[in-house]
Amino acid sequence: MDKKQYKFDKINLGHGSGGIMTRELLDGIIFKTFDNPYLNQKHDGSIVKIKGEVAISTDSFVVSPIFFKGGNIGELAVNGTVNDVAMCGAIPKYLSLAFIVEEGLGANEFIEIVETIKVTSDKCGVKIITGDTKVVERGKGDKIFINTTGFGEVHPKAEISSDRIKEGDKIIVSGYIAQHGMAIMSQREGLEFESTIESDTTNLNFIIESLLNNFGNKIKLLRDPTRGGLASTLSEIATDTNNGILIHENKIPLERQVAAACEILGLDPLYVANEGVFVAIIDKDVETEVIDLMKKDSKGLNAICIGQITNDHRGKVVMQSGIGGKRIVTPLIGEHLPRIC
C-alpha cells in the first residue's frame, strides 16, 4: 500500500469520532486492506455461515513494544486468537478485530499493523468479518491495543476435554519454549540486550487440524502456554483436573541462546511466555506416531514428550531435575520479576 496517499501522518482523536475522518481511516486503510464481502457490506455487523458446533475465543493484545523481533502486535492478535480457537479442537474461520489507538500513533505504523493482520489472517485461512476502531487521548493508552474474537467449527473427530485425562497419558510440547517472552524482554526499555532471539509467534491451526484428522479423540487436551508459560499451563491442568503431572527437566525443549538470556536475567524459562507452542495431552498408545507427524510440520519440528499424567501428587506438577532431584512447579504469581543477583 502506498503510505504517502494519506492526508495524515498520525492518528488523532478525530479518527475515532465516527465522522468523516473515521470514514477516511476505514475506507483508506481497513476496508481497502481486507477487501472481503463481509466487511464490504459496511454494516454494523456481519452474517456468516458456520457448520455444527462453534468454538469462540476472545483475547486482547497490549504488548509493548508493538514491533519486536519476529513480529508485531497485529501478528500476535491474529495468531493468538486463532490458536486459542484451535486449542478447542476447532478449525478457525472468522475473526473480529477491534483497535484502541492512542492518539499520535504514526499512520505508517498503523498501516503496517493492519497489513500484517491481513497477511497473517490469510495465512491462517480466517476472514476478518467485523471490527471497531476507537481513539483515546495521549497517555490513556499505549500506542495501540487490539482485541480479536475468533469463531471456529469444531472438528468432527475432536473430543477435547480435561475430563478425559487419565494416568499414563503423555504430555507433548510442540517446540522450543520461552522464545516470545525473551524476544520482548530483550527490547523492553531499560532491559535492552543484544540478541537474535525472535518471537515464535505463529499459527498452530493447521498442525492441530492434522493431529485431529489422524488421531481424533486420542488427542485429549490442547493448550497454548502463552502468558505464565509452560509452568502455569501445566499447573492449571493439574489443579483443574486433580491429576498429578510429572515432567523431566532435561526433556524441556529450550534453545541455547534463550537459556543463556534467561540465566543472565534471572528468569525461569518455564514461566516465560510463548506464542507459537502448544501442549498436547494424548493417549500413550499414539505417542510415537503423534511426535512423528508433528516433526513433519514446520510448527512441530522440535516436538517432544516431556512427561506424563500420574496418580501420584494429585493436583501438582512435579519436575525431575537434571541432577536427579525433584521439585514442585507452581503457577506464576504476579508478574515474573527478575532477581537482584
Binding site: 531499560g190 531435575s321 541432577i323 532477581r339
Partner: protein, 363 residues
C-alpha cells in the same frame, strides 16, 4: 552456558553425593549464607538427595528479605512525592508497612524496574526536571555497580540523581548468627558472588575465632554438593579453615577494582536487618563527600517507625533457628500472593523457595 552446564552434571553431582554419604558419621548443620544458594538447593531438589544427618540451614543472604520495612516505606514516600524511583525487580513486590512499591506504582507512582543502576542514571539524564532515586539494595555484590552509578552521575554533572542505600555485609551477619545463644550452625557455605567482589581474606578470623569451617561456594548443583562435601570433610576431620570451592570466580583478595569503587563512595556503618534487628558495623553508608547523592540526606526523610507482623517468624528463619515449614502460618495465612514477611516474597527467600519448589509439599 558451558560453565553452567558443566556444573549441572548428573554424574558429578552423584559422585559428590556419594562422597558425602561415605564420609559423614554424625549429624551436621550447614548453613548456606546466600539466598541464591537456597534457591538452587530447592530448585534442583538437592535437599532430598542429601543423607538425613546432613541438615541444611538457610541463611540470611537474601537482600530483599533483610531490607528493613522502613526503607521500603521511605521508597514509597519518595514515589508519592513525584520522585522517579528505580529498583531491581524482586524488590518491588515486598510489602512495606502499608503497601508495596508495585502497589504504590498502581496508585500513580513513577516506578521503573531496571537491571542496572547505570540505567537509572540514564533515566535521570533524560528527565532533568525530575528527581530520580535508585533503591540501592543488596549485599557486597551489588555495591560496586551502585557506587559506579554515583560516580557516573557525578561525572555527568547530574544534580537530580541519588541512591537510597540499604547495603548490608555478610561477615557481621555470620558473626551475629554465631553469637546467638540458639545458634546450631556447624559450618558455613560462604556466598560465592559476595566473595567474587570481596574475596575471603576477612573470613579467616571468623573460622579461627568460632572454630567453624567456611567454604566459599558457587550456585550450581555440582558447586553446592562439592561445597557441602568440603565442609563435611573438615567437620569430620575437625579442621576449621576457609576453603574455596568457587575458585573459577573467586580470588582470595577479591576484585580489587570493585573494592576500590566501593571504598570511594561507602564507609562501614550500623545497619538494621529486617527480621534480625540492628547489627553494628554491618552495612555501608555513604561517605560525607557523597552526601548529595544520598537520598535519605537529600530528601531529609525521617526514620519511619514500623512494626512487623507478629505472626511472622522471619527472625528465626533468617538466623536458621527454624525451617519455613515449622512456621504455623507457612502456606496458610502466609504465601507468595499474600506474604506476611519478606522471606516469602523474594524467590531467594527461604520461605518462598520452600513454597515454590520444595518436596515436602509433594504428597
Amino acid at each position: 552456558m558451558k560453565y553452567l552446564n558443566e556444573y549441572r552434571n548428573l554424574e558429578a553431582t552423584k559422585r559428590f553425593l556419594g562422597k558425602i554419604k561415605e564420609s559423614v558419621t554424625q549429624p551436621w548443620n550447614i548453613m548456606e549464607i546466600c539466598g541464591g544458594q537456597t534457591h538452587s538447593l530447592v530448585k534442583n531438589g538437592i535437599l532430598d538427595l542429601l543423607p538425613e544427618n546432613v541438615r541444611m540451614i538457610h541463611g540470611p543472604g537474601c537482600p530483599v528479605c533483610v531490607t528493613p520495612l522502613n526503607l521500603i516505606d521511605k521508597a514509597i514516600e519518595l514515589l508519592e512525592n513525584d520522585v522517579i524511583v528505580c529498583s531491581f525487580g524482586d524488590m518491588v513486590r515486598v510489602p512495606g508497612s502499608k503497601k508495596s512499591l508495585l502497589e504504590a506504582k498502581a496508585d500513580g507512582g513513577d516506578l521503573r524496574i531496571l537491571y542496572s543502576p547505570i540505567e537509572a542514571v540514564n533515566v535521570a539524564k533524560n528527565n532533568p526536571n525530575r528527581e530520580v532515586v535508585f533503591f540501592a539494595v543488596g549485599f557486597e555484590t551489588t555495591a560496586p555497580a551502585n557506587a559506579l552509578s554515583v560516580l557516573h552521575a557525578q561525572k555527568l554533572g547530574l544534580k537530580n540523581y541519588s541512591i537510597l542505600v540499604s547495603h548490608v555485609l555478610v561477615p557481621p551477619a555470620m558473626e551475629a548468627i554465631l553469637d546467638d545463644k540458639f545458634c546450631n550452625v556447624n559450618a558455613f557455605l560462604a556466598a560465592g558472588h559476595v566473595c567474587t567482589i570481596m574475596g575471603y581474606e576477612e573470613y579467616h578470623n571468623l573460622a579461627e575465632k568460632y572454630k567453624i569451617p567456611i567454604v566459599v561456594t558457587g550456585f550450581e548443583p555440582v558447586d553446592l554438593v562439592e561445597g557441602i562435601y568440603m565442609a563435611i570433610k573438615q567437620l569430620e576431620n575437625k579442621t576449621y579453615k576457609v576453603e574455596n570451592q568457587y575458585s573459577r570466580a573467586v580470588k582470595e583478595e577479591g576484585n580489587m577494582a570493585a573494592k576500590a569503587v566501593i571504598n570511594q563512595i561507602f564507609e562501614i556503618g550500623n545497619r538494621e536487618w529486617r527480621g534480625i534487628g540492628e547489627i553494628p558495623n554491618s552495612g555501608y553508608v555513604m561517605t560525607k563527600s557523597f552526601k548529595d547523592f544520598d537520598a535519605e540526606h537529600k530528601f531529609g526523610i525521617q526514620n519511619i517507625k514500623v512494626v512487623e507482623n507478629s505472626d511472622c517468624i522471619a527472625s528465626d528463619i533468617l538466623k536458621g533457628i527454624k525451617k519455613p515449614n515449622q512456621c504455623k502460618q507457612f502456606g496458610k495465612a502466609c504465601n507468595p500472593s499474600n506474604p506476611l514477611g519478606a522471606p516469602m516474597v523474594s524467590s531467594e527467600g527461604a520461605c518462598a523457595a520452600y513454597y515454590h519448589f520444595s518436596n515436602h509439599l509433594i504428597k
